[in-house]
């Protein structure tokens, strides 16, 4: 029951849509941190137990020495967003990575400050 997407399916060959999910050992993002496509992440400092991580997770930690969004990491490593979320969820749970949720405009007053900042920022471009 552990794995609907069994590792055997890796033999489907290059380009198979199943392959990326082998990295996540068949898991989908369910019980981990809720990451959005534009959650911003950064690698934490400190020792990493490299042997316990997937190569893709090491690549993620390597890439995220500065803040990047989940979508940027997915694009740069050419891994689907859904898979990156699972790999990162693990890293965050283990303290190897920090994440910040996207800004949502809910509080009208805070929202106005942010809107003005965005407007000023675009006008400066």
């Amino acid at each position: 029951m552990s794995d609907r997407r069994t590792p055997d399916k890796a033999s489907d060959g290059p380009g198979s849509p199943v392959r990326p999910y082998v990295m996540t050992e068949g898991r989908e993002a369910t019980n981990t941190v809720q990451l959005d496509m534009i959650s911003v992440v950064i690698s934490a400092r400190g020792e990493v137990d490299e042997l316990s991580l997937e190569p893709e997770q090491l690549a993620i930690l390597d890439l995220c020495q500065r803040p990047l969004s989940v979508a940027e990491v997915a694009a740069r490593l050419d891994i689907p967003v859904a898979v990156v979320k699972v790999l990162m969820g693990d890293l965050i749970a283990r303290g190897y990575m920090l994440a910040r949720a996207p800004y949502t405009i809910q509080h009208p007053v805070v929202g106005r400050d942010v809107l003005q900042a965005v407007l000023d920022g675009i006008q400066r471009l």
Binding site: P17, P20, D36, M37, I38, S39, V40, V41, I42, A44, R45, G46, P67, S69, A71, E72, A74, A75, R76, D78, P80, V81, A82, L98, A99, R100, A101, P102, Y103, T104, I105, P108, G111, R112, V114, L115, Q116, A117, V118, L119, D120, G121, I122, Q123, L125
Partner: protein, 195 residues
């Protein structure tokens, strides 16, 4: 004792915002993202599996088709605390199930209208209207395309009078800036009218 991560706390991470760039296939979405993004637009390839319908299945083998959907996006750093992402939405209607995640939390949207095929932006307008996501309509003026006045486009799309409609050239950075500024000002006026 402070941990090694104390200078990398989440509060030092910028928060991200997103704006969607929608419109029919070929309306200039990716062009607009590229014109204003500070990075070369990135693309994520999302693998979609969908059950295929209407296929004779005599073998009992699952009939699934897989499709790759490319999402193009760019980034504008507003300040050390704020980053704005611009996502071009997939143009093909059958990928709309992706739109809910894309649309969730979006600040607003730009609907790019192609006057050669105005009807191709109807579904985008409808999508944002039904979800209450604020948007502006930018009429992309392609070379040689029949040029309509914004009010003609407004009538053709049956848009509410308060929704901004403007002409643009998605290839020109200043023009794209003006579109985004119009969107943010539209959001500001909506915010002002709700309190």
């Amino acid at each position: 004792m402070a941990s090694n991560d104390s200078d990398r706390g989440p509060t030092l991470l910028p928060a991200a915002l997103k704006v969607l760039i929608a419109g029919g296939f070929g309306a200039g979405k990716t062009t607009m993202v590229g014109s204003i993004s500070e990075i070369t637009p990135l693309s994520t390839e999302e693998v979609m599996t969908e059950a295929s319908l209407g296929v004779d299945d005599l073998s009992g083998v699952e009939n699934k088709t897989t499709t790759t959907v490319a999402l193009d996006f760019g980034r504008i750093t507003i300040s050390p605390e704020l980053v704005l992402y611009l996502f071009g939405t997939p143009g093909q209607e059958r990928f709309w199930f992706m739109w809910n995640e894309l649309a969730a939390g979006a600040l607003g949207a730009v609907v790019l209208a192609d006057t050669r095929r105005l009807e191709t932006c109807f579904p985008s307008v409808d999508f944002f209207e039904r979800r209450g996501i604020p948007f502006v309509v930018a009429v992309n003026c392609f070379d040689g395309a029949a040029v309509y006045q914004p009010e003609e486009v407004r009538d053709a799309l049956s848009l509410d009078p308060q929704i901004p409609v403007l002409l643009c050239d998605a290839r020109v950075r200043e023009s794209c800036k003006e579109v985004l500024i119009t969107l943010i000002q539209h959001l500001q006026s909506r915010a002002a009218s709700t309190v």
